[in-house]
Each structure stands twice: as C-alpha cells, then as structure tokens.
C-alpha cells in the first residue's frame, strides 16, 4: 500500500468505503488495514452494532506523556466532555483524586457535573484532600461530594478527611462564578459555598446512566 492510497483513505472509513475507494476486494481491504495498523496509522473505533470504523492517519503522530483529567472523566463518567486540542500531561500521571480537583478548578459547570462520577472511584481520600489544599477548593470538594451522595452511590469518605475539608478557611464561595443553587440550600449552608446545580441538572445527569 503506497502513500497516495493512504492519502485517499485519510479520515474515518468503513471497510466497504475502503473497498469502493481503492476498487479492491473485501479481503484485500482488511489486509491493508492490518498493514497500516502495524505502522501505527490506523485506529479502530466501534460504532453501532459493533460495526468497525477505521480512523486512518497519514502521519504517525508521536504519543507523548499521559492522559489528562478530561480522559479520566470520560473513562469513569457516563456524561462525556469534549476538549478541543489533544491534551497530554508530561512528567506525571493524573489520578482520579487530582482529576476531581482539576475539574472543579476549570469553573465550567458541565465539566464539574461530569466529574461528579469520579467520587465513586476515589481510593485515597487523603490524596484528594492534599490536591484540594493545593488548589484551595476544600469546601467545594466537600460540598460536591455531599451533593453527589444525594443521587449516586458513592464510597464513604473517611471522617478525618471530611473534617479537614470542613475546616478550610478563606476560600472563594462560588464554584462557578455567579451560579447559586435553589434546591440544595442545606448543603450550601453547611459548606459555605454556592453550588452551581439545581435538581433539573441532576436529572439531566441521571439521563446518561
């Protein structure tokens, strides 16, 4: 298979489309995909009814570093988020604990909402506290945890971490600027922060399950 053929096929293709474009048999098309995969130029995506789609690249792009927190959210959350550029982190591996805090730090309601599902995957609560301290979002983490427990099965946080989250002082009150909740006033009062979600938002979230 030469470069000009790869050029014709660049993008997302079904096996039938490859056959049509190159005027070849189905078996030959599959063989071509196998050869391109060996070169690292094909990525298979499964569509509806496990239909195979082949994403064909002209250039093998080097994969650098590790996944970003967007990847972590998309792995664990039923609600997916899209981020334009390919985001990679070099020099460290981001875990669930850091991903929660980084999601809150974006101040974007959709990303924060999608990130709530990560609370069920936290294994190291003191690590979550550590990152919350670094980003100065301890009360926000606590409030969002309590909100998540209201509508989702979430692992129980240890008391020491919970108390430390509650002790935080001098933190900005808004999780998302100018967003206040009408329905979760009790959580807002307890944690002294403003939640950016109402019951409707949570219902929207539940649709994704």
């Amino acid at each position: 298979m030469n470069q000009s053929q790869t050029l014709i096929l660049e993008g997302l293709n079904k096996i039938e489309e490859i056959q049509k474009k190159l005027k070849i048999k189905r078996a030959t098309a599959i063989k071509y995909m196998h050869l391109l995969r060996k070169k690292g130029l094909v990525k298979t995506i499964y569509g509806k009814d496990k239909k195979r789609f082949y994403r064909i690249l002209k250039v093998k792009k080097p994969i650098v570093g590790n996944e970003s927190f967007y990847h972590i959210i998309n792995r664990y959350s039923p609600m997916k988020v899209i981020y334009g550029p390919d985001y990679r982190v070099i020099g460290k591996k981001i875990g669930v604990e850091e991903a929660i805090v980084r999601a809150i730090d974006t101040k974007h309601p959709k990303i924060i909402l999608a990130g709530l599902a990560l609370f069920n995957h936290v294994k190291n609560w003191p690590l979550l506290l550590k990152f919350a301290k670094v980003y100065n979002v301890r009360r926000k983490v606590g409030a969002l945890y309590e909100l998540t427990r209201n509508f989702m099965k979430v692992r129980r946080i240890d008391k020491r971490t919970l108390n430390s989250l509650l002790k935080a002082k001098n933190e900005p009150k808004f999780i998302v600027d100018n967003f206040k909740s009408k329905d979760f006033k009790n959580i807002e009062r307890k944690w002294n922060v403003f939640l950016p979600f109402n019951k409707v938002d949570i219902l929207e979230y539940e649709q994704w399950w």
């Binding site: 002209k58 250039v59 970003s68 982190v89 070099i90 020099g91």
Partner: protein, 223 residues
C-alpha cells in the same frame, strides 16, 4: 546542534517544574512539527509567549540552567529590517538553541483564530505548551523565510490535508493587524514552492491569492 522529541520534552519539563505559576506558550516551527510527527529533529525550539513577563520568567530559568544569550543574526529578509526591535531572545547551550518570541514572530501576530486552531496541549508542570496547526506553521514559515523553511512547508503540504481557506483567511487577518501586505509574501512563497519544489498547491489557491494581493496593494498605495 539538533533537538529531538525526548530532549525537547525533558528540557520543557525541567522548566515547567521550576515555574512557580502557570504559563502558557505556543510551539511553532520545527518543534511544533515534531509533535505533529512531520519531523524527527529540529535545529531550534521556537516558543511564543503571550506577554513579556512570561517570556522573562522562562528566560531567567533557562539562564539558571546555563543557557547563554546569543547574538541575533540577521536572519530576516531585507524588507523586515525595520522590525529588528521585535527580534526574539535567542538562547543556546550545548545542543539546544531556543528562540523565545513575545506575541509576534517577526511580522506575524498570534491571533485568536490561531489559538482556536491549536491541535495539542501539552502540560509540562506549570508550563502549558500549545502546538499550533499545520496551516499556521506554513504561514509562519512564510513569515520567517529561512533556509530550511521551504522544505519544512513542502513536507507539511505532503503530509497533511491543508485547508487552504484557513491560510488565505489568516493572511488577510495578518494584513489587518500589521504593516505588511501578507498575502503578497504568501503568494510569493507558495508560488516558489509550487514551481521550484513541485508542491501540490491547487492553482485556484494561487489565483485567489494573486487577486487578493493585487487588491491589497491597490488599497495600500491609495492610502
């Protein structure tokens, strides 16, 4: 003196770990091509910052690493000599050569549309490194016009499905921002690529650029 993907990543990571606050910058030229997979190594790392403070902070860290400022060679073509004051800070140490620009690369401005077209975001500690799109790399290659730039542009045209509409639109945007008639330089650059290096550039693109260039020149002379 060549920089490859690993050595570039290691240097940027060292810088990012030293930074005390988040700094965003843009990879252009050869170093951006490395991340696109279009090149294995480059002579220098070209970085553009959005403000002078960020540029100075990174320069001071690099100087702590032993980098020394080198004299800016007159790499620009004659018509851009008046822009020498905007020349980048150029540092070097062993195999590394780094050019650090502030907002502007010679006569090329970093616009919002370029920011929106960024293809990769790489996080090196506190250093957020954004890789510009192949279309914008070609435009920058046209602005700098150094020896290897034509070959790099040719490689990009070969490897990627270049969206020529973006290139034409951005060249017009650059004309609005700067004092140069960018489409004229772009037309020159692309014509040379097509005629001398047999690059696959659609004739319609060159025709459109020629038309725009003529219009822009008439406008400029009327002023």
């Amino acid at each position: 003196m060549v920089v490859n993907l690993e050595s570039q990543n290691q240097l940027l990571l060292d810088v990012g770990k030293r930074l005390k606050r988040k700094i965003e910058c843009y990879a252009i030229g050869g170093s951006a091509m490395i991340y696109h997979g279009a090149k294995k190594e480059t002579k220098d790392i070209d970085i553009v910052f959005l403000n002078e403070n960020d540029q100075k902070e990174v320069v001071s860290i690099l100087k702590e690493f032993g980098f020394k400022e080198r004299l800016t060679r007159l790499v620009y073509i004659k018509r851009l000599e008046h822009l020498k004051k905007n020349s980048p800070i150029m540092l070097e140490k062993d195999e590394f050569r780094i050019d650090l620009f502030n907002k502007k690369v010679i006569c090329f401005y970093l616009t919002n549309s370029i920011e929106n077209r960024v293809t990769d975001l790489l996080e090196f500690g506190n250093l957020f490194f954004k890789v510009i799109s192949p279309e914008d790399i070609i435009l920058l290659k046209c602005a700098t016009e150094r020896a290897g730039d034509r070959i790099d542009a040719l490689e990009l045209i070969k490897l990627f499905n270049i969206n020529w509409k973006i290139i034409i639109k951005e060249s017009l945007e650059q004309t609005k921002l700067g004092e140069n008639i960018f489409p004229v330089y772009l037309y020159d650059f692309l014509l040379e690529l097509k005629e001398d290096l047999k690059a696959e550039i659609p004739s319609s693109v060159l025709k459109e650029l020629l038309k725009i260039s003529e219009e822009q020149m008439i406008k400029k002379f009327r002023k």
